[in-house]
């Protein structure tokens, strides 16, 4: 994310400066913003490949042990998963609206939508913590007195749970980093740092947040929705 160095004559603290300041190696504000945006997109490409490795492991083992995966998946709470997905999608909306507010220069709305995004993201993480604790209590954490009660092909269920914790854990880590950045953005927004002429950090963070949402859009069906029909196999 491009931060700004003060141009001569423009103070960098105290006075609101919702105008762009250009780093020395760029020719124009547009070039700087364009470069930063492409930089964030290239970073997201690396994230796609990073999560991709885990999706590969999931793909391979679900193919190999479909019954184990199905019965292990049923141990997750469907309602909680669906509600949490809804919460995250709401946070994506509020984040998109935050970026839009910056683009049209409504400072109070930027702060409002960022705070809403923060609260919704925090809710998601809180629910996940509850789910993790629930799994721990029910001996569904591989390596610690693991016991998948009533599961078909129980010997292979640790693979499902390992992927569950690995994938949602990596996702949650990305969300925690995101929450940290939102706090910084809120502080900056309250000082009037973002406006139509310059709001690149908000935009770029928005891209990151939406990406994290997309990962969850795939994790939810893959981990929670395997064979939820009541038909016994």
């Amino acid at each position: 994310m491009a931060s700004h160095t003060a141009e001569p004559g423009v103070t960098s603290h105290g006075a609101p400066h919702a105008t762009s300041t250009i780093q020395h190696h760029f020719e124009s504000a547009d070039q700087q913003k364009d470069a930063s945006t492409i930089g964030m997109w290239v970073f997201l490409v690396t994230e796609v490949m990073f999560f991709g490795g885990l999706f590969l492991a999931y793909f391979v083992y679900r193919q190999a042990y479909p019954a184990a995966f199905a019965s292990a998946s049923n141990k997750t709470n469907l309602l909680i998963g669906a509600v949490n997905t809804t919460v995250l999608i709401c946070s994506s909306l509020t984040m998109a609206l935050a970026v839009r507010s910056a683009a049209i220069g409504k400072k109070n709305l930027i702060v409002l939508f960022l705070i809403l995004t923060l609260l919704l993201g925090g809710t998601f993480l809180g629910v996940k913590a509850y789910e993790y604790n629930d799994k721990w209590v029910h001996h569904e954490v591989p390596g610690h007195n693991f016991d998948c009660e009533g599961c078909t092909d129980a010997g292979h269920t640790p693979l499902f749970f390992a992927l569950y914790f690995g994938m949602t854990g990596l996702h949650a880590t990305h969300m925690i980093v995101g929450v940290g950045i939102i706090l910084f953005l809120i502080a900056q927004a309250r000082k009037g740092a973002y406006g139509p002429a310059w709001h690149t950090p908000v935009e770029l963070f928005g891209l990151y947040w939406h990406f994290v949402d997309i990962v969850w859009i795939f994790l939810f069906p893959l981990l929670y929705l395997i064979d939820r029909s009541a038909v016994p196999k």
Partner: protein
């Protein structure tokens, strides 16, 4: 001396299109709120649809339906929340490239897994 690439001579700048490689493509488009809300509504609906469909036994089609819905939802987020619909060609290419490489990783590895027992010889 071999020196033709024009250095310390800020002579008459050539403004012909082929030389303007630093022309910028920054997007200044503001997406209308109604589009955001329409996408949001679609995402919520499809979330509950996919949850409901998972409780119906479609046999081996469950996974395909679930993935199709997920891909649809992800596409909405990419195109509208992430503005790719309104973005430069380069951004679109970067997104396509990431998907293409992800598919390479997944499907080429699976060509091994899927064909493992075809030869009828142990370990081949």
């Amino acid at each position: 001396m071999a020196n033709h690439s024009g250095h310390a001579h800020p002579g008459p700048a050539d403004h012909s299109p082929v030389d303007r490689v630093t022309e910028q493509h920054v997007e200044h488009h503001i997406v209308p709120k109604r589009i955001y809300f329409a996408v949001f509504f679609a995402l919520i609906v499809m979330t509950w649809v996919t949850t409901y469909v998972s409780t119906i036994d479609l046999g081996r089609w469950n996974i395909f339906v679930a993935l199709a819905i997920a891909i649809f939802k992800a596409s909405l987020v990419v195109l509208f929340f992430m503005h790719v619909f309104y973005s430069t060609r380069l951004t679109k290419m970067i997104v396509m490239a990431s998907l293409f490489w992800l598919m390479l990783l997944l499907f080429i590895t699976m060509t091994d897994i899927w064909t493992r027992n075809w030869m009828g010889v142990p370990g081949r």
